[in-house]
Amino acid sequence: MTSEPNSRAAVRRIWGLLYRHLALYRRTWPRLLELAYWPVLQMCIWGFTASFLAARMGNTAVITGAALLGGVLLWEVALRSQMGVAISFMEEMWSRNLGHLFVSPVRPWEMITALLLVSVVRMLGGILPALLIAWLLYACNLFALGPVVVLFFMNLMIFGWAVALGVVSLILRHGAGAEALAWSVLFGLTPFSAVFYPVAVLPSVLQPIALALPSAHVFEGMRGVVLQGTVRWDQLTAAFALNAVWMAGAALLFGRQFRQARLRGALLSIGE
């Protein structure tokens, strides 16, 4: 019943996994609402804050507000990408479907690819309404930063995926007990990612931690564009390089934990 070539079959398996999640969102509107709820709420709170500061403090606050809103929007890219992968994996765990998936011909890399694609869909579903609100209510157009914004997006997405793979690995290791990490782990990195302030503001002992995060370099780069009007290619290069290291580490961790789960028999009982 199988057909060649293998690459076409692999694409079809990835589509099958993607279709599973798209069908789920089509059937449950609260899930769709949940995608956009938090990014929109964040945008409203920070947008009004920036408007208030601009009214009181003038032009300096306008520029600061733009950096603030840019930070909110871009950080949501990382958050939504990370949650997109981790929550989609947990959907399989909650529905006790992992056993069926892992006895099918789906390779682990195909499952990861499908999860990444689901996360892109989820991220866009959350970010696009927030971008629209920022533009309509606060005249903040993130794309006015230029094509470089796509590179910021890419880096934060990849960073979110790396963290998500780490979370999925922990779920494979510790089961449902680790699922709270899917919501909390990236929030814990927010202070070190220098989303709203430069890395230099952090105590010197914490700065190496920040500089090890691709996200901190993205936000330094973003502030370079917003505040000085210059693209910091050094920061973008550092972000891409660090992302390569983070993704490689996360992939190794996932591979190791997947094998450990097969040794322990956790793939059948992970929902418990």
């Binding site: 279709y19 069908a23 006895v103 793939l267």
Partner: protein, 246 residues
Amino acid sequence: MSGIRVSHLTKHYDDTLAVDDISFTVPVGATVGLLGGNGAGKTTTIGMLLGLLIPSAGTIEVLGHDMAHDRFAVLARMNFSSPYVSLPQRLSVAENLRVYGHLYDVAQLERRIAELAAELELGDLLDRPAGKLSAGQKTRVALAKALINRPELLLLDEPTASLDPDTGDWVRTWLERYREETGCTILLASHNMAEVERLCSDVLMLKRGRIVDRGSPHDLLDRYGRDDMEEVFLDIARDRHHAVTA
């Protein structure tokens, strides 16, 4: 070529020995029962046959492929059903079958779904969420999922658990017909002795991870001097009677 060839298969979790050096062969086209009480090692054995579990020792060959090194070559030719592994509850029956049809790269998928719906009487259920079905309906949907790729090897873990006698009989009759029509090899783990007697050409009796007896249901009944497999099962489980060896 055998459907399944297991040699000196062993699995231990830390200090617990779940499967202890078992060897058996399932010929192509045969239906073999894997019997044993709770904790006997049935699920662990099935997990290793499916590649979900890595054995501690021993080898597994499925449809001529070594599962340790070549499992993806054979996973598309086999399938699995268990009441303890669910399908996504919020997806409709048709959506679930579509997902697995894509995963198994089934050609002419919509036609295959229509065939299965007709054969397993799922026509009225296709648009209903899988989570809203009765136990009997869920079993039929699980069977449809397990047959979506027309498997050459089917592993069934308690296929009629929690079904009423009428639905259980319907499933058994359907499996008998499917096996006759397709020549599919079936490994069946069950606690229902009447089911095993009816469906299986051979039985492997597991206890504390070891195969303690094997043979056709007829041979086992003769050997233990019993009228039904339930008594044979109890004899073995409770060590209350030893088979009269030929």
